[in-house]
């Protein structure tokens, strides 16, 4: 699987589609992108750089502006300010050329219910290049819908419609896929299949931008991530790098937790480590960048103070806990 590194550099905005577009290293590039609904900015000065060939997560709580950004990128609604490009093509000026190689699912995938899945794809293929018609069969095979392709969409489950949405994306033979909450409505098996499908598309060299509130799915699927809140990107970069900069948690199971807490408070460690008593001992939050020497120092202070240490366990920061650290609306249900 291709895993592109994420570098926060600014690519030159391509000026001549077809010549420089293919040379752009960014599949998606936005600068100061803004979309307002009345006084509320759903997308607020977004600076986004998505490297080609990567699986990129666009993560945010409910109402953060994820879907609106995708809608703006696709030309489904207009931007109020800023510049953007898809696959190196400035949009909206060269939107048609850009979208010819873009597949997208926005919100819940809906189709003409009186038509079969295959007929819906024929309708969409007719609006694309002639070769798109030849891709209908393979696309249905790839998403596992070939055996139900001649059933009416009205008889499809939510998961089947999601798959049909992905099949519709594949008609473009896309270099870039923008998938908005593709796991919505899927059962665990369906989510696993969708994840595999996304990863296989990344393995093909395509760029996948996955907008989701499912932190676990983003962490399992994506190389890099942008965290959006109140329409603004507050962090972006490779997941590993972002988590490396996150605070480290430490669980300490010990005797006399109260005295242990007091002992730590009397040292230089106490100034930088947040200590909270727990049922079995102490839960500590170390500052970002703390190395294992800090853990050893804590252990030494406690042992020298006569505290018995039964267990001392660093807890790896998950994307979820990091997400909760950096966003303002913790646990906002989607």
């Amino acid at each position: 699987m291709q895993r592109a590194g994420h570098q926060m550099i600014t690519a030159a905005v391509p000026g001549v589609p077809g010549k420089l577009a293919g040379e752009s290293r960014w599949a998606v590039e936005t600068h100061g992108l803004t979309k307002r609904f009345g006084a509320k900015a759903a997308v607020n000065g977004v600076e986004l750089l998505v490297p080609r060939g990567s699986a990129f997560g666009y993560l945010g709580p409910n109402g953060a502006g994820k879907t609106t950004l995708i809608r703006v990128l696709l030309g489904l609604t207009h931007a109020d300010a800023g510049t953007m490009s898809l696959l190196g093509y400035p949009v909206p000026r060269h939107r048609d050329a850009a979208l010819a190689r873009v597949g997208a699912i926005v919100d819940e995938p809906r189709f003409h219910p009186h038509l079969t899945g295959r007929q819906n794809l024929r309708l969409l293929a007719a609006a694309r290049e002639p070769a798109a018609r030849d891709r209908i069969g393979p696309a249905l095979e790839r998403v596992g819908l070939a055996h139900r392709s001649d059933d009416r969409v009205s008889a499809y489950s939510m998961g089947m419609r999601q798959r049909l949405g992905v099949a519709a994306c594949l008609l473009a033979d896309p270099e870039l896929l923008l998938l908005d909450e593709p796991m919505n409505g899927l059962d665990p098996a369906g989510m696993a299949e969708m994840r595999e499908l996304i990863l296989s598309m990344v393995a093909d060299g395509r760029t996948v931008v996955l907008s989701s509130h499912l932190l676990d799915e983003i962490e399992r699927t994506c190389d890099a991530v942008a965290i959006v809140d109140h329409g603004t990107i507050i962090r972006q970069g490779p997941i590993a790098e972002l988590l490396a900069g996150a605070q480290l948690a430490l669980q300490v199971e010990c005797s006399e937790p109260g005295r242990a807490r007091a002992l730590l408070a009397g040292t230089t460690i106490g100034a930088s480590v947040k200590v909270v008593p727990s049922a079995l001992g102490l839960d500590m939050t170390l500052p970002a960048g703390a190395d294992r020497d800090v853990v050893a120092e804590i252990n030494r202070v406690l042992v020298d103070g006569g505290i018995s240490i039964y267990r001392l366990q660093p807890v790896q920061t998950s994307l979820e806990s990091w997400f909760l650290q950096v966003t303002t609306r913790l646990g906002d249900p989607h």
């Binding site: 489904l76 809906r110 309708l123 969409l124 609006a127 694309r128 798109a132």
Partner: protein
């Protein structure tokens, strides 16, 4: 490289054709009514030819060609237009189509030939049934107010024929003058009473000749079976009305983003408001009245459809009474009005589709 417009049009036709409810409605309106009506008449005539006249007649052709088919064709066409203009949006397909990168204008324009292909073909089938029965099951006598009249009589021959059948002529044929109050007219007048020649007083014969002389222009407009030229002109006129209805429906539904409201608005406008506007003379708003597309289309109605004026409330009869219209309008102005409506609604619908959030 994108596909040819033909591929898009073909799939748009498929999308409309697969709507069962819509297609059943269209077939019933455009084909079902005339087919069932004529079938009943054909069967009735086949089993009891004396009691049931032949299925075809100029009068029935006129009623269908100037009244029912334009009216039902209008409803069918505007239904297809409103469906084509709104369903992509309401069923969530518009977004998928926009994401293909194909221009929104092209997406809109593809709907026009697709919808017209369905509308025009169904109207043509319905009209072909009417023409076929009118030609191949035509009567041998003209039925004029329940009086059987031989076709092709000169004015003198018509007068002689009327004199020989003075009583039914006086009792049945239209006459604007005074008629003696003591006439022995049976009510209702039966065919058996009028077909054979009957002796009558000279005064009654003179009145019959006078009536025949007055009705001769109306008689000459009647026919056993419609002439080819009239069938072609009427067919084109009905198709024109369907094209206008579809195009306006498509534009308005695209503009409003829904089907039901524009559909109701257009039907009410055409079947209620337009006849009212054709019947009243508003001195300072005559130009506005002339700009109503229903009146403009009615202005272009073939002159050989004489019964249209006698069909109140139907499209074909609007604005063209037995006498001069309240709103005289030249054919050129009518054509300009129709073109303006077609262009305006196409532009409005396309503009909304190009600017609408998907």
């Amino acid at each position: 490289m994108t596909t040819t417009p033909a591929a898009m049009i073909a799939t748009r036709i498929m999308e409309l054709r697969k709507r069962r409810g819509l297609m059943i409605t269209l077939i019933v309106l455009d084909i079902g009514f005339p087919a069932v009506f004529y079938l009943i008449r054909l069967i009735g005539h086949a089993f009891a030819p004396l009691a049931n006249p032949p299925a075809g007649s100029g009068q029935i052709f006129t009623i269908f060609a100037a009244g029912f088919l334009p009216t039902f064709g209008f409803i069918a066409a505007v239904t297809v237009g409103c469906t084509a203009g709104s369903r992509d949006l309401s069923e969530g397909m518009f977004r998928h189509l926009v994401v293909t990168g194909r221009s929104r204008l092209a997406l809109y324009l593809a709907r026009i030939p697709a919808g017209l292909a369905i509308v025009a073909s169904l109207v043509a089938i319905g009209y072909a049934i009417i023409c076929a029965v009118s030609v191949f099951a035509a009567p041998t006598f003209i039925d004029y107010n329940n009086v059987n009249i031989p076709p092709g009589l000169s004015r003198a021959e018509f007068g002689n024929w009327a004199r020989d059948r003075a009583e039914p002529v006086v009792c049945s044929l239209p006459y604007s003058g005074q008629v003696p109050a003591n006439l022995p007219c049976p009510l209702p007048l039966s065919k058996s009473a009028v077909t054979p020649a009957q002796a009558a007083p000279a005064k009654l014969e003179a009145l019959a000749v006078k009536i025949a002389n007055q009705d001769y222009p109306g008689y000459t407009a009647l026919f056993l079976s419609p002439p080819d030229s009239l069938m072609i002109e009427a067919g084109l006129w009905i198709e024109l009305e369907a094209v206008v209805a579809f195009t306006v429906g498509l534009g308005l539904a695209s503009l409003m983003g829904q089907r039901t409201v524009p559909l109701v608005l257009l039907i009410v406008f055409q079947l209620i408001v337009t006849p009212i506007l054709s019947a009243v003379d508003i001195p300072h708003l005559q130009d506005l009245q002339r700009s109503v597309v229903g009146l403009a289309v009615a202005r272009l109605e073939p002159s050989g459809l004489p019964m249209a004026a006698a069909l109140p409330g139907v499209t074909g009869g609007v604005g063209r009474g037995a006498g001069p219209s309240l709103l005289p309008e030249s054919a050129t102005v009518a054509v300009c009005v129709i073109i303006a409506w077609l262009a305006s609604w196409t532009i409005l619908g396309a503009w909304r589709m190009m600017t609408r959030d998907a």
